[in-house]
Symmetry: D2
Subunit: 118 residues, 4 copies
C-alpha cells in the first residue's frame, strides 16, 4: 500500500514526528497558523520577482521545481498538523467544499469569468 | 475505492473544477499564491481573538469545527492547485520533506525544545 | 499641525482606540499578527485575479483606489499596533532598515537586477 | 525637520531607493503583495513558538526588540511602496479608516468584547 498519497497517512506521520520530539506542547492552533504563515512567506518569496507570465516555465527547470515542491510541502505539513490538532478531517472537508463550490459557481454562469474581481 | 483521502485524486478534481469553468487562464502561480494568502487570512481571522490556551476547546464545538474545516479546505484547495500548475507531486514531496526534517532534527537533540526560538 | 502623516501620531490614535474599547487585553503580539494576516489576506483577494500588467490601471479608478486604500490602511493599523505593543519605534527602525538596504544593495551592482530570483 | 516620522517622507525615500536601482520595473502591485507576504512570514516565524503570554516580555530584551523592529520595518516598507504604486495616500486613508471604526464600534457597545469571535 502506498501511503504517500493519503492525507490521513501523511497527517499521522506528521503527528508522530511531533510526538517523537515532544513538540506537541508548541502546537496550539494559533502558533501553527503563524508557522504556516512563515512557510507561505517563503513560497511567496520564491515567486515574487518572477514575471507572472514566465512563472510556469521558470519553475519547469528541475532544481527550481524541487525547491517549489519543498516550500509547498512545508505549507502542507503545517496545514495538516493544524487540521489534526483541531480534529478536522481535511480530506473529507475539502471534497465537501469543492462540491459546494460546484453548486455556488454553475459552469454556465461563470465560464471564463473570474469571481470577485474588484 | 475511496478517493477523498488521496492527494492526487483531490488535485485532479480541483483541476477539473477549474477546467469546466475555463478558469485555468486565471491560475498562474502568482495569482494562486495570492488566492492562497486570501484563504490563510480567513483562517487567521477565525482564530485571532481566541485565547491560545482555549483554541482547541473552542473549536471542538461542531459548528465551529466545521467552519475551521471549511477554511482549512480552502487553503488546501489552492495549495494543491498551485502544486498542480507548477508540476509538483506534492504527496511525494511532503513525504520527502518530512524525512529530511527527521534527519535535521534528531529526537535526542531537540526533544522538548522549540527550534528557531528568537 | 497635521498629524495624519506622522507614524507616532497615528500609533497614538490606534492605542487610544484600543484603550477606549478595553481591547488591549486581546492585543498580545501573536493575536495581532494573526489580525494583520487577516487584513493582508483581504488585500491579496482584491488583486488576485487582476492581470499583473493591468493592476495599476484597474486601481486608478477612484472607487477601486479607495477600496485598496482601505485594505492597505487595515494592514497599517495592525502593523503599527503590533509595533506599539512590542515597544518598537517603527518610524526610526524603518529609516534605519532602508539605510542598511542602501549599503547591502549598491546601485552599481544591482541596477535592474531583481535580488533573490530563484 | 525630522522626516523619519512622516509617512509621506518615508514613502518618498522608498520610491527613490527603488528608482536608483531601476527596480521600479519589478514593483507591480501583485509582486509587491507577495514581497509583503514574505516579510509578514518572517515576522510570524519570529514569534511562532513564543508562548502568547510571554511574548511582550521576551521581546523587551533589546536585541530581540531590534530584530522585531527590523521585521516590522520590512513589512512597512513594502506596504508603503505598494500604496505609492497604487496612488494611495495611506496616511490620510488610515486616519479615515480609524474614524470609520470609531463609528462602527461604539465604545458603550463593544467595551471588553472582541469583535468577530467565532
Amino acid at each position: 500500500m502506498d501511503n504517500s498519497d493519503s492525507i490521513a497517512a501523511l497527517t499521522a506521520d506528521i503527528r508522530e514526528f511531533a510526538r517523537e520530539r515532544d513538540w506537541e506542547q508548541f502546537h496550539d492552533p494559533k502558533s501553527l497558523i503563524l508557522a504556516l504563515v512563515g512557510e507561505v512567506g517563503e513560497l511567496a518569496e520564491l515567486l515574487q520577482w518572477v514575471p507572472a507570465a514566465e512563472a510556469v516555465e521558470v519553475f519547469s527547470e528541475p532544481a527550481r521545481r524541487a525547491r517549489a515542491g519543498e516550500e509547498i510541502s512545508d505549507v502542507l505539513i503545517y496545514l495538516l498538523r493544524l487540521a489534526d490538532v483541531l480534529g478536522v478531517d481535511v480530506g473529507t472537508a475539502a471534497v465537501a467544499k469543492l462540491g459546494d463550490s460546484r453548486m455556488r459557481f454553475p459552469t454556465d454562469e461563470v465560464e471564463g469569468i473570474a469571481p470577485e474581481r474588484p
